[in-house]
Every structure is written in C-alpha cells, then in structure tokens.
C-alpha cells in the first residue's frame, strides 16, 4: 500500500484517499499475498482472494456515491504519479461517466466469479492470476495516459492466457494460444500509433512529449491524414478485442474452453476493453477519423449482429451458443457507438454494462449445468425444468434480459442503440432490428431444448440450484431487474460525459452535426440522409 503515497491526488470529491490507484494496487497486493500463502490451504487462499476482490468491489461501488453527476464531463477522482519522466509517461488516472460503470461492473463481477467456482487444482496460481487480471482491467478503465492504457490493455492477456490454458476444458492450449496471439498481434501496431500520436502532437504544439489523453484529444493538433492512419492502428487493436466480425474467430474458442470464471470475466469485462477503447481512444482522440471510418464500423457491426445470431442458432454446444450471442450483442454496441449521437453512444454504453451482467449470468448458469451433467451438448440435455425448476426460472429471466424484453435491462440499451442508429442511418437500424428477432429465436429455442421436453437418464435427477449458487446469482438478477425498471440513475451519470463526447465530435469534424430525429424540427444538419450512405465519408 506504500505505493499509494506516491500518487498526487488532484481532485477527489468525497473520497479521502487516492481511490483509483487503490483499485489497481489492492488486487495486485492481494495477488502477491496469495502467492505467499501455503499452497495446501485452498480455503485460506480463497478467503484472501475473495476478501481482496470484495474490498475492491466495495470501493468501486463507493465511487457511485462519490461521483458527482452535476460535475459535467470532467474527469473525477484524478490522481497522478510519474513513471518514465524522460518520455513524459505518467500514471494519470481518472474516470468520467463513460468509465464509471465499467469500473463498477468490474468491481462487482470479480467477487462473483471468484465465489462461483473453485478451480479444482493449483488453487494458489488460479487466485493470484484472477487478482492480477482484476488489477489490469481496472488499470485499463482508469488510465488517462496512452502508454499506461496500453500497458494495462496488454498485461491482461497474461493472466487470461494462463486461466484458459491451465483451468480450461477440452482444447484449452489451442484456445489460450489463439486468444493471446490474436490480441497481441492486433495491438502490436497500436503501440506504434500511440508513440506516433504523442510525438506528432508534441511537434505540432511545440510542447514536450506527453501521453496525456485529455491534452492530446483537446488540442487535436495532428494533421488529418496522419490521424486517420493512427486511428486505423488503434481500431485494429480494439476490433480484435471487441471482437468485430471478421476478427472474432478467437472468441468462440476462448469462451468455450475457458473455465467458468474465465468465461464470466472474458464476456463480462474483457470484451468491453475494445468497445471502451473505441469510445475513449477512438471517438474522443480521433473524432474526424472516427467519423470518416464510421460507415465501415456500422456495416461490420450490423454484419456481426446478424452473423452472430445465425451462427448461434446453429450451435450444438450451449456454451458456444452463448459465446456467439456475444458477437451479436457486441455488434449492437459497435453500431450504437458509431451512430455518433447521444442515444446511440449512451445505448452502447448501457449495453456494455447489460451484456456484462446478463452474459456473465448465462455463463454461470451454463457452468452450473456442466458441473452437474458434465456435458454442454444441447442434445444430451433436456427436460431439466422438472428436476431444477428454480434454475429454469433464473435461466428464463436471464435469457429474457439477453433477448431484450421490455422491463429488463437489455431492452433499454438495445432500444437506445436502435433509436440512435435509426436517426443516423435508417436502413442499418432496420437490419439490426432483425438481429433482435434472431436473438429471441436462438435463445428461446435453446431454452426449449434444454429445459422442456421429457427428461432422459440423468437429466431427470439433476439437483436444483444450491443456496451458494443462488446467492452468487442474486446480485446479477437484481441488477437485471433494477436497470430494466429504473435506468435513470445510470443514464443520469452517463449523460454529461456522452453529451460532451458528441459535442467534441461536432466541434472537431467540419460540417458534422449530431444526427437527431428526423421527425422533429431540427433537421438542418441532415446532410446525410439515412438511405444514402455511399457518400458518407465525403460530407465533412
């Protein structure tokens, strides 16, 4: 904890210490602590790991209270410490309405993932890697320095590699290696892009080299053409991480072979690194280039929605089905993000949180079924509803949330995304809406095959949810209902940051006006008609 004292806390309303550095340092220290414990005491190891993640979760939830929604779009809880002063690299941490809920999501999901499943072997390494993973993810969401962001973005690969490889199922070595290489190759050029952006910024403004995100983004000093190239380098890294079709092929393997906790974290948090990256280091850092490339990403987003849904329908493996549903859901997030208006971005952001909650719950449930039946093949399951009615009920709720049923969380996000996309590019939204129908198809059909019908063999005697499992799922179910019924507290905190982001794009892209409803009065900025996208890139 001594490391915390080196941070200079710039502003922390209502929080007496450098809370963001603590979010990174506490799990890292916890991991060290776990490594130092005796290996033959799994219950002690688990206690320390869970306690650490609960402390981190508590701190992140506390941020909700301390976060000042009226503060506008400025970064809050900022803190700073030098790292490599020669290159101007510093530990610059801060959050705004965009990152706040992702930090909270991370804080909440880790204790759940830790509590839900035991590794079975090599407990010490398992818990240590999970805590290292938490530190890395927190770092990504809090970093405001480009190099520190990259540092955390990359370091996440190592624990995830070992989690999939050592505690995974089936073809785990292949899945782990594929995951590592895909993401590492994707982000290789991002480091060059980061260095280029900093040096070009320094040249253009005549200041010393800095990697400060806010300073570089606000100045927008880099020449348009260079910015587009650099954006492409960033976008490749994020597109692999999201993953955007056709770079998604690592995802089904990694998700399916990962242990349950790994799948939960992978789907719940890790996929958000990419979509968060697009918002923070795409739209904010390169507004012009984002606008320029938006048609590409909108199209790939829609393709991902339809493709993910169709492929999910065809799956025989329940876990693989959930994995492909992620491809579809993330397509929605990409679509909302590149609609470049408040509804779309906000919807995308909400969808990040929603997908994190619902898909994690789905993976937990699939993991519980697998633990009991030792199979994930839909064909071999069936009629589980009779033997496990509570589990069936929980599964129904989570599934409906994932489909986007009104009244549950999934609806709010998907609706906003579709509204945003419709205002910006009508036909894209129409096609994407088809994805919603397909989602209902593959999930309901899977549910029907797994839970309905006659129960054969062992399926008839499958034990229902245990109390521990129920408690693990309870917070996620509560969030699903709460955010569906009353999303205001969430949206309220997101809105200032999203508005500011859209205003930032309007300011820095010539001739760009936020695409708003065409049915209202404000249509003067409608240079781009939804039906005509061929000239999308030329309208600035």
């Amino acid at each position: 904890m001594g490391a915390l004292s080196t941070f200079v806390v710039a502003s922390s309303p209502g929080v007496p210490f450098a809370v963001l550095p603590a979010l990174i340092v506490v799990p890292a220290v916890g991991a060290l602590l776990v490594v130092c414990l005796p290996r033959r005491r799994p219950e002690l190891l688990k206690l320390v790991a869970v306690a650490t993640s609960v402390i981190v979760g508590g701190m992140s939830v506390w941020l909700l209270k301390g976060f000042d929604a009226t503060h506008g779009a400025e970064m809050q809880f900022t803190s700073q410490a030098d790292w490599i002063s020669d290159l101007g690299i510093q530990w610059l941490l801060g959050i705004d309405g965009i990152s706040l809920f992702l930090v909270v999501l991370t804080g909440v999901l880790f204790p759940i993932a830790l509590l839900a499943v035991d590794p079975g072997h090599d407990d010490r390494a398992y818990y240590a890697w999970l805590l290292v993973l938490e530190a890395g993810v927190m770092g990504v969401f809090c970093a405001l320095d480009l190099v520190v962001f990259f540092l955390c973005f990359e370091v996440v690969l190592v624990p995830m590699y070992f989690l999939i490889g050592r505690w995974g199922h089936g073809n785990r070595a292949y899945a782990a290696t594929k995951f590592f290489l895909y993401t590492m190759a994707g982000s290789a050029l991002m480091l060059v892009g980061i260095l280029a952006v900093a040096f070009l910024h320094a040249d253009a403004t005549g200041t010393s080299v800095t990697f400060d995100l806010v300073a570089i983004a606000e100045a927008q000093a880099i020449d348009t053409n260079a910015a587009r190239w650099i954006f492409a380098a960033f976008a490749l890294a994020f597109a692999v991480k999201v993953p955007i079709f056709p770079l998604h092929t690592w995802l089904p393997d990694a998700h399916t072979e990962a242990p349950t906790a790994g799948s939960v974290i992978l789907a719940g948090v890790l996929l958000k690194l990419g979509t968060y990256g697009f918002l923070r280091f795409g739209l904010y850092l390169f507004p012009e280039a984002s606008h320029f490339f938006a048609p590409v990403f909108l199209t790939l987003g829609v393709v991902g929605i339809i493709y993910g849904a169709v492929v999910a329908t065809m799956q025989r493996d329940l876990k693989r089905l959930v994995a492909y549903s992620s491809v579809a859901h993330l397509g929605f997030i990409v679509l909302g993000t590149f609609a470049l208006n408040t509804e779309g971005i906000e919807g995308g952001l909400l969808q990040m949180v929603n997908h994190g909650v619902s898909t994690s719950a789905l993976f937990l449930l699939v993991g519980m079924i697998y633990e009991r039946r030792h199979t994930r093949q839909i064909d071999e399951l069936g009629g589980l509803q009779k033997s496990a009615p509570v589990m069936a009920a929980v599964f129904t709720l989570v599934m409906l949330s994932s489909i986007g049923l009104p009244g549950l969380n999934g609806f709010v996000g998907e609706f906003l995304v579709l509204v945003g996309a419709f205002n910006a590019h009508r036909w894209w939204a129409v096609v994407a809406a088809g994805g919603v129908v397909l989602a209902a198809l593959y999930l309901l059909w899977a549910y029907q095959r797994v839970f309905h019908g006659p129960a054969k063999g062992d399926n008839a005697e499958m034990p229902d949810l245990k109390l521990r499992e129920g408690l693990v799922l309870a917070p996620l179910l509560a969030l699903i209902v709460f955010m569906g019924v009353y999303p205001k507290p969430v949206i309220e905190r997101m809105e200032p940051a999203v508005d500011a982001l859209v205003a930032h794009i309007e300011e820095h892209v010539d001739g760009f006006h936020e695409p708003t409803s065409r049915f209202g009065v404000d249509i003067e900025g409608a240079g781009d008609h939804g039906s005509d996208h061929a000239d999308e890139g030329d309208d600035h």
Binding site: D86, L181, A188, L191, V192, L195, F199
Partner: protein, 497 residues
C-alpha cells in the same frame, strides 16, 4: 636535456581493464604452477574480479558525471558514461557466467580453469571496445574479445557440436574481422585519421566531393559489426554456435559479446559518423527489419529450445538496431537501456537452459520442457518471467526496453520499421508461448508430482543468477525510471585529446 613527453594516463579509468586482464593472467599462472587447485578457487576468483569491476564502476560513473568524459593515452582511449555502463554490463555477465560455469564443468567433467581465464580475457576485450577512441584500439578490443570466445565455444571437448560451433564461429568471425579492418582502412583513407574524434571533426568540417571511399568504408564496417551482433543477413552462425557451444558460454555470448558489439557500433556509427547518418541509417533500418522478421519467424519453426532462443536473440538484435538507426541521443539511450535488460534476460534464460541441459548438455528439445511446472515449479515460474520479459509483456523490463527503441524509431519518423518490429514481436510471442505451453499445458510422459523436491537439484550459482535476473526484470518493468535516467546519462561523447 629534453624530456620525453609521455601521454597522459588516467589510471582510475583503466582499473577495469587492469583488473580483468591481470585477474585472468594471474589465474592462469597460478593454475599452471599449483598442481591441484581447489575446485572452487577459479570460480571464486572470477566472481570476485567481476564484482570488483562492478564496484569500481560506481566511483568511475560519478567521476565521469562530475568531471565530464575524458580522452587519454594520446587520444587512443576514452572514458565516458557509455564506457562505464558497458563495463558494468560486462562485469555482470562475467559474474553470471562464472556462477553458471562451475556446476556445468563438474557435471560434464571438464577441466576447470581455462573457461574462467578466457572469460576474463574476453571481457577485457569488451571493455577495451567500449572505451576505444581510435579505430585501431577498437579492432584490438574486438579481436581480444573474439579470439577468447572462439576457444570458449570449443570448450566441450567431447561434444562434436561444440567443435563444429567453434570452427564455424572462427571462420566466419575471421571473415567479419577482415571486412571490419578493410572498412577501417578505407575510412582512414577517406578522412586521414583513425582517431574517432578527428574523423568526426574532419567529416563535419570538410565536404567530400567524391565520397565513394567513405561510403565503402562505412558499408564494410557495418558488415563487420553486424556480424558481431548477429544481425540478418550476417546471422547464419548464430543458431549453430548457440546450439553447440557450452550453455554458460552461450550466456556470455548472448549478453557480453552483444553488449560490446553494440557499444562499438554506437561509438562508430552514431557518434563518429553521425554527420553521415542519412547514408548509413537506411541500411541499418533494413538490417533491423530483416533481423526482427527472420529472427522471429524462423524461431517459430525450431523444436530445440536453444535454437529458439538463438533466433530470438537475432530478433533482439533487430530491436537494438532500431535504436541505432534513429541516430540520435534518444535512440542511443534506448540501446543502452535495452542492453541492460537484455543482459538480465539472456543470462537468466541461459542459466535455465544450463540447468535443464542435463548430463551431456543435450536435453534441450521442447519435449524436455513438457510438464516442467509439475516437476520443477519454481524453475518453471522463473523461466516464465524471463520468457514473458523477452516477449516484451508489460511490467517486465522487456516492455520498457522495447518501448524505448520504438519511441526513438517513431520520433525519427521510422513508422514502417517500427510497425514491422512490433508485428514481428507478436510472432516472437508465439515462440515463447510454445515453451510456456510445453511447460504448463502438456503433461510429461511420466507424470510424477515431485513437488519442490527436484528444485533442490538446481545449483546455488544458477539459483542466484536466475533469481537476480527475474528480480531485475520485474523491478525494471515496474519502476523503469532509474534505468532510463542511467541510460540517458550514458550517451557517449567524443573527446579529442
């Protein structure tokens, strides 16, 4: 009566050379007089000498920092920050190699004195290279270093691969020396001096209308130096020599010889020929790009861990060249920082290989590493840290090192070569992952869970080397500031007499 003017001698600056050469020769003398030398003595002597050089470099560093760089012995030899830093790197490599050597020699039943003597002499050559202020002195240093290493490579008398490695290294090395010497001669012809400071002065004041001789000289120098640091396409010797030579010697080659080679390269190219950077820098970036790509992709095809690391050392040379081609202070500082990190990574990795080699020094296939985490968890964990460091994963020294050279390349608008290097780094990551997969994710045929028991079999010396290397790699990765400052202060300067 006229007095003979003797050149000024800075004795304090000569301490490392004196310690290492006197240490080596004294050991040789004692060993040939005393019939039965205790086993531990040569090793202890070498380690103490190495540590003494390391300790001596601290006051030398302060002296240079306060009093500025100095040239002495009639402008033949100089001492500046880079000299002291490279000396310290060499001292660390000597200590590490000596620590690894004794258990190795005992295991392989090899005579026990020559390795230490040659090691110290070779290090002497390295220090001379790092302090050369004249092309002739540079060449002398290079030959002292190289000839000792040729013999070291052949040290395993009963392994035919060892003899083969030495012969290949010697023949190709002699060729490279010839290139280098011819380049020096042409450079002398073009500028009228062999003194680095005078060459630089001449080139910055005189415009050569016909610079063919100069360019040919630079090209030949580049070939010779590229051979020494194992850059593609002058790398062909590396895998065979790394595979054949005794493992501790390979640690010295990877860490020490490479550091000395890059010290020479920076002195000659960046500092002396800096005015003509536009002539040699494109060539160096091509070498850098080729080295990273060929090193990384050919490493993927290997099944012998030692050959994998040999090719990965070629890729590392490519990254170092990335800093050289930037031809500025940032690039040079990045090269030195990289050298420090690479010394730790290389000595640590080859220490693991020395331990794993087993009797006959032959168990280096990927299969021998299967399920290592079950048999030797601590060794596997340490090797993991070192491999992740070599891959350049964040929070290891490897990342800091790569960041430095990349920043230098990007600042000099070398986007293409920087991009190529990063893509190659992703390929190289696959190589390290293959070793990790073997260690963690595959079971050995005889799955016996021996726990920590077998870790007792790791000799103390190897434990120290591996431990220090891992700790250093992690420490630099988490707190890189001090190393970066050190490297920045070590940028070489030319001083005329």
């Amino acid at each position: 009566m006229s007095t003979v003017v003797t050149p000024e001698v800075l004795w304090w600056a000569l301490i490392p050379v004196i310690l290492l050469s006197a240490g080596g020769m004294l050991l040789l003398t004692v060993a040939s007089i005393v019939r039965r030398l205790p086993d531990a003595l040569p090793q202890a002597w070498t380690v103490i000498t190495g540590l003494a050089v390391l300790v001596a470099s601290v006051p030398m560093w302060n002296e240079v920092r306060d009093g500025g760089p100095r040239s002495y012995l009639g402008g033949m030899v100089a001492v500046d920050g880079s000299t002291v830093l490279v000396t310290a790197i060499l001292a660390i490599a000597v200590v590490a190699t000596a620590l690894l050597a004794r258990p190795y020699l005992a295991r392989e039943d090899l005579p026990g004195v020559e390795l230490y003597v040659l090691l110290m002499l070779s290090a002497t050559g390295g220090v001379v290279m790092a302090s050369a202020d004249d092309l002739i002195v540079l060449f002398l240093g290079l030959e002292i270093l190289s000839i000792a290493v040729y013999v070291l490579a052949a040290l395993h008398l009963r392994r035919i691969e060892s003899q083969e490695a030495a012969l290949k290294y010697f023949v190709l090395g002699a060729f490279a020396s010839a290139f280098l010497l011819y380049g020096m001669a042409l450079l002398y012809g073009a500028t009228g001096s062999t003194r680095l400071a005078l060459i630089a002065e001449h080139l910055s004041t005189v415009v050569l209308l016909r610079d063919g001789m100069l360019l040919a000289g630079i090209a030949l120098l580049l070939v010779g130096l590229a051979f020494k640091v194992a850059a593609v396409p002058f790398h062909a010797w590396t895998p065979d020599v790394y595979q054949g030579a005794p493992s501790p010697v390979v640690a010295w080659m990877a860490a020490g010889v490479k550091a000395a080679g890059f010290a020479a390269m920076v002195r000659v190219l960046v500092v002396t020929l800096g005015t003509h950077a536009s002539d040699w820098s494109p060539a160096v970036s091509v070498l850098a790009g080729l080295s990273v790509v060929v090193g990384a992709s050919v490493a993927v095809l290997q099944t012998d861990v030692r050959r994998m690391l040999a090719y990965s050392s070629i890729a590392h040379a490519g990254f170092l060249l990335l800093g050289v081609q930037a031809a500025d202070a940032r690039g040079t500082a990045a090269v030195y920082a990289y050298l420090v990190v690479y010394t730790l990574l290389a000595t640590g990795s080859f220490a693991v290989l020395t331990v794993m080699g087993g009797p006959g020094d032959s168990a280096h296939s990927l299969d021998d590493y299967r399920g290592l985490v079950r048999r030797r968890p601590v060794l596997a964990g340490a090797f993991t840290v070192l491999l992740l460091g070599q891959a350049g994963v964040p929070f290891t020294g490897g990342f800091v090192a790569k960041l430095g050279v990349l920043a230098a390349a990007v600042e000099g608008r070398g986007y293409w070569v920087a991009g190529v290097a990063m893509l190659a780094a992703a390929i190289a990551a696959f190589v390290y992952l293959r070793i990790l997969v073997a260690m963690y994710l595959e079971d050995a045929g005889d799955a016996g869970d021996a726990g920590d028991a077998e870790d007792a079999g790791v000799p103390l010396g190897a434990r120290v080397v591996i431990g220090v290397a891992c700790a250093g790699v992690l420490a630099i990765g988490i707190v890189p500031g001090p190393l970066m400052d050190l490297a920045r202060d070590a940028v070489p300067v030319l001083v005329g007499s």
